[in-house]
Subunit: 272 residues, 2 copies
């Protein structure tokens, strides 16, 4: 975060209550990118929304959304606004990837369908793109699949960062996701029921992994720089019409610069 | 299980494939009543169904359903038939409680509204009835509530049997449930989102408790007698028209008795 962004953060945080500032600080202490959630072609907005809500409540910051065949959409009544606090990476035609530092750009909500035609040639292009990105970042990718040869959830190693992929309600993860993932992952089950609902699977997985992470001695917390970026994004989202405040800030900043005093001048414009 | 029931069980199991018999045996080895799920006045059939599915998949046998204000109903597409393998105890006006040994009586599905008028005098009567039953059976009752003074899920003791209660989507657990429960229980949360979806909460709780139980040295398995009762219920449910087979069994049994040979007779009716 550069000096100007730091000043903007201080300016915006000046409008937050002490309670809200403390809350943001406390949540940042618990936030992690060591575990991330990947949703591939989820169909039902209820499921998608419940997954975001569970991830956010468990302290996961990043959710990756792959849209090869289905546009992702959320139900605000189910997500409870959780998407606003997450860094959501979308992979779709004319890929719109929002890096975490500009997470606030996303916080106006998930865009609706952009009406673009899907290229029929490769329906897994976005999966490849997402996995490439995760591997670059050092993630070990686990694609959920009920096969007995899969690694059971309690046996997932948390030594390095972990991405868990959930596929569509209808077909599960795509063949490409299964092929490119490092491992398959299954949640142990002991009854006649052979699968959990997808939002339930995702919740159990993120709860289990983040619980184990918090008890471990791994370095799972965000860096100071990541925390500052999120403080700015979250301050923006916490304020009504933060855009107006921000415009005001830049205006003040510009005025300040244009009337930069020389050493002999006693004049300084006051900050709003 | 008396001798006749044992014979009936052997008779019915004779019609099952070896694969199904083994499956039933394996599932019975993992089944528990040490943890039980209580659902109080759930409104949404999706949530209710997802809760049954999660409980069954985690190896929980008993689910208690309290209907003070709302009839319980399931969505078969969500429950995936899980209700058929559970012992479901319903508490409602003209209370219908199905003991586990007659679980099969319930396995025709959950009855629809019986059209009875609710007595407005005490809207928590069924909660009291359920809690009385659980306490008689030695359960420690945890009512889920997000209050900070609650016991966190990982701190729930599994020394004795544990019942966890989830309340309606709208109001949470009733004041009476909170008052009569031994403790309040919360699932730790680390984000801005202040609650999980109810089916997600229930899944996390049953997954966490049953996982810990399986790793523990507690005596959490069913008794041999309980297993036999369930084998009979599950054999009935596994067979198409088990009622006809059963009628045949009793007919054979009656014939056998009425034509009981004396020691000098060589005649014995053949079994079907």
């Amino acid at each position: 975060m550069n000096k100007e962004a730091e000043e903007l953060l201080a300016y915006l945080e000046g409008f937050l209550t002490e309670g809200r500032r403390n809350r943001i600080q406390n949540i940042l202490q618990c936030r992690t990118r060591h575990v991330t959630l990947v949703l591939e072609d989820l169909i039902d907005p209820h499921n998608a929304s419940a997954c975001l809500r569970s991830a956010e409540a468990c302290g996961i910051q990043d959710v990756h959304i792959i849209e090869n065949r289905h546009e992702f959409s959320v139900k605000s009544g189910v997500s409870m606004g959780s998407a606003h606090w997450l860094s959501i990476y979308r992979y779709r035609e004319q890929s719109l990837r929002l890096p975490s530092s500009s997470a606030s750009a996303h916080h106006t909500g998930l865009p609706a369908s952009n009406g673009t035609q899907r290229r029929p040639a490769d329906q897994s292009e976005q999966t490849r793109e997402c996995f490439r990105y995760l591997k670059e970042k050092g993630y070990t990718i686990y694609a959920t699949s009920p096969h007995q040869s899969s690694i059971a959830l309690p046996d997932v190693s948390l030594d390095g960062p972990v991405a868990i992929v959930f596929g569509s309600e209808k077909d599960g993860i795509s063949p490409v996701a299964r092929e490119l993932a490092d491992h398959c992952l299954r949640i142990p089950m002991y009854g006649f029921t052979e699968s959990f609902n997808i939002s339930v699977s995702a919740a159990i997985a993120v709860y289990d992994l983040t619980s184990r992470l918090r008890k471990s001695d791994k370095d799972w917390k965000l860096s100071e720089s990541e925390k500052s970026d999120l403080r700015l994004a979250w301050a923006r989202h916490s304020l009504k019409r933060s855009d107006l405040l921000e415009r005001q800030f830049w205006q003040n900043n510009k005025n300040e610069k244009s009337s930069q005093p020389n050493e002999t001048s006693a004049f300084r414009p006051e900050k709003a």
